[in-house]
């Protein structure tokens, strides 16, 4: 049984406190999904509020056919998509500059590394923005948010096969963009050097010492 069902029933009876409790229970999850979909942006707070306004308005018609969390994710991604569409008419900076991978002389979470990581994340989202809306969403939900393909299919109302195909082509496009990215050239060369006979996660490269910035 859906753990939220009692709260949903109370909200559908018109009890304002139940809406508030649903908000408190799910606001962190919604914030995270909005943040994942938007990427680093100052608009997260506004979009989260928009999501919950829409949740409140749509809750009377929620019939429990899908899990509440799936329904909520679908609503959150749709509201975020609309926000992104509106933003697309605004001018954006198109340059992509991916900073170097972690420096081995820096502690794992030093302020420098945090800044670098934030910049890498921004760069990734700039590359993701070149994908089509559907591919971008699928890739973010699956690869960054960890939503299984089956659940994405349920959310979008499409076959799982379509989700998988879309994910594959989204990755192919992104790989092509990454391969062409000049600021990644040094990292790529280093990754290439490690390849034969060492099929381990690339993250291990920091153990061998990367070129300091």
């Amino acid at each position: 049984m859906d753990p939220d069902s009692a709260l949903i029933a109370r909200a559908q009876e018109g009890e304002p406190a139940a809406f508030q409790q649903l908000f408190v229970r799910h606001r962190n999850d919604v914030t995270r999904i909005v943040f994942r979909m938007l990427g680093p942006s100052a608009d997260v707070e506004d979009v989260v509020q928009d999501v919950f306004l829409n949740v409140y308005r749509s809750l009377p018609s929620f019939r429990g056919e899908s899990k509440f969390s799936t329904w909520l994710y679908r609503l959150a991604t749709n509201v975020t998509r609309m926000h992104l569409r509106r933003g697309r008419s605004r001018p954006r900076f198109a340059d992509v500059e991916v900073p170097e991978a972690p420096r081995d002389d820096a502690p794992p979470d030093s302020p420098d590394e945090q800044i670098d990581r934030a910049e890498r994340v921004r760069a990734l989202y700039r590359l993701l923005d070149h994908l089509s809306e559907k591919k971008r969403e699928g890739l973010i939900l699956h690869d960054l948010e960890g939503v299984p393909a089956k659940e994405i299919a349920d959310m979008a109302g499409i076959p799982v096969l379509t989700v998988r195909t879309r994910l594959f082509y989204a990755r192919k496009e992104l790989y092509a963009a990454l391969a062409e990215e000049p600021s990644l050239r040094a990292v790529m060369d280093q990754l290439l050097d490690e390849l034969p006979g060492r099929p381990k996660r690339a993250r291990k490269r920091s153990e061998e010492g990367a070129t300091p910035v």
Binding site: G14, R36, P60, S61, L144, M155, Y175
Partner: protein, 464 residues
């Protein structure tokens, strides 16, 4: 160095740690001599690093207190509307639900703008704040010709006038042929021995997944119209063309306009009329584990429905067929179809190439079982629902309406998976939507398996 398209699927499997140790070793041997694949793998890892950074990124601190005022006001407003509607007649409650459902559906599924059911004296809650999404207009595909063995779900024969919906499969047998009109001047013909699924049927997007056979298409210029076959994507630019998937070869013949073909390797081929194109038979196969190691034997797996394969713990996502090298011995092969059903076979491998087709890959538990619904149970559920269905009629109009048939697909747990109203004559949208919506809320006894759709004739007679 051999120049070829990078084996992205296998490299992703490697990067994600899905390959067994022998599999990793085989790929490593290939990588040593293949710059294309090495570069692709380096890119995959660079992406994985960036994705890991993104996964670790924390959302900014959000001031939930700041938004609590606006949300509390909205909660009060929605609650007041709910209570007001409850105090009034049940019609209002249904109206509120119907209208809120429209807003919700508009938000996450799209809804034809011309079919929005508007309840009389509609509550204001959803009218004031329309859902901020683009509306989706669904097509209503109609069968215009059906001959020979032609059917859709559960062997249900197709006849002219039948309507199709998104997700409907369509099958023609030895002597079957079906013509489907999607919209004005737009449609397709499925020739004999064709299996397809209409995965998208929208005004701005049509998508057909072709598992086997031959289809001819006529489309309007500028439509988004895609056919998927064996990992190939055929994107029509217009306006007349044929797509076939016969004996593992995907074929495209363009009579008018052009199409864009995307291969499973991501290659794009633009084909302008008049032109024909065929995929290489074996080129449609995904391959893992190359180059061949001494003593290893070729194993080829084919099943048109399977989209994911697992052989001895190595998983590959590819549609229809897979080719790999295996050591002699017994190998456990699993496959999954798009609906998640598991198929399996235990394959003994000697010293000759092995070919495993759909006859040997059997559906494994949970099997799709045939279920059963007692006629008396169906009648009881429908009879109980009849007063509410009659309310639809009373809200829609008090005039006689043409006889309609309510077609209901019941799921494994007795839930209604799909409800559709079928009629030879026009039915008011408000009536159609109301009945479909209420039918979707019905619950039947669990049939314990798959059952054919239930057809319920409904006839409303006008009051004097």
């Amino acid at each position: 160095m051999t120049a070829h398209a990078p084996k992205t699927a296998a490299l992703i499997a490697l990067a994600e740690g899905l390959l067994s140790e022998p599999g990793q070793a085989r790929i490593a041997r290939h990588l040593a001599g293949c710059e294309v694949c090495r570069r692709e793998l380096a890119t995959i890892r660079a992406y994985e690093d960036l994705a890991e950074d993104a996964r670790r990124a924390e959302p900014p601190a959000v001031d939930f207190e700041r938004m609590s005022g606006a949300l509390a006001r909205e909660a009060e407003r929605v609650s007041a509307t709910i209570k007001r509607d409850k105090r009034r007649s049940p019609y209002y409650a249904w109206g509120a639900l119907a209208l809120a459902a429209v807003a919700l559906l508009g938000l996450y599924a799209g809804w034809p703008s011309d079919q929005t059911p508007i309840a009389r004296r509609a509550p204001r809650v959803t009218v004031e704040e329309p859902a901020p999404v683009a509306q989706i207009a669904y097509l209503l595909p109609v069968v215009t010709l059906a001959a020979g063995d032609a059917h859709k779900v559960a062997g249900q024969p197709l006849a002219p006038g039948d309507t199709l919906a998104e997700g409907d499969p369509l099958h023609t047998g030895e002597d079957g042929v079906v013509h489907v009109q999607l919209a004005e001047a737009m449609g397709f013909i499925a020739d004999a021995r064709t299996d397809l699924e209409l995965t998208r049927a929208r005004a701005d997007q049509v998508e057909i997944a072709l598992s086997a056979g031959r289809t001819s298409h006529t489309i309007r210029s500028g439509s988004s119209y895609v056919i998927l076959a064996a990992g190939y994507t055929v994107e029509a630019r217009g306006t007349r063309f044929v797509v076939s998937y016969l004996e593992d070869i995907v074929g495209v013949d363009v009579a008018e306009g052009s199409v864009l073909i995307r291969t499973p390797d991501g290659e794009e081929i633009e084909l302008a009329a008049p032109a024909s194109w065929r995929s290489q038979g074996s080129g449609t196969l995904a391959e893992i584990a190359r180059p061949r190691a001494p003593g290893e034997i070729l194993m080829e797996l084919r099943h048109p429905d399977l989209v994911r394969w697992e052989v001895d713990g190595t998983t590959v996502d590819t549609t229809g067929a897979l080719r790999l090298q295996v050591a002699p011995g017994e190998h456990r092969v699993h496959g999954w179809d798009a609906r998640g059903r598991i198929f399996s076979a235990l394959v003994p491998v000697g010293h000759e190439p092995v070919f495993v087709d759909e006859g040997r890959l059997e559906a494994e538990a949970p099997r799709i079982r045939q279920g059963h619904l007692e006629t008396a149970d169906i009648q009881r559920v429908i009879q109980t629902a009849m007063p509410r269905l009659r309310q639809c009629y009373e809200r829609a109009s008090r005039e006689s309406t043409p006889p309609v048939r309510l077609r209901i697909q019941v799921g494994l747990m007795g839930e209604v998976r799909r409800a559709q109203l079928v009629s030879a004559e026009p039915v008011p949208n408000i009536l159609r939507e109301c009945i479909v919506q209420r039918a979707q809320a019905l619950t039947f006894p669990p049939p314990g398996g798959v059952v054919p759709p239930i057809e319920v004739p409904i006839s409303f007679v006008g009051r004097q």
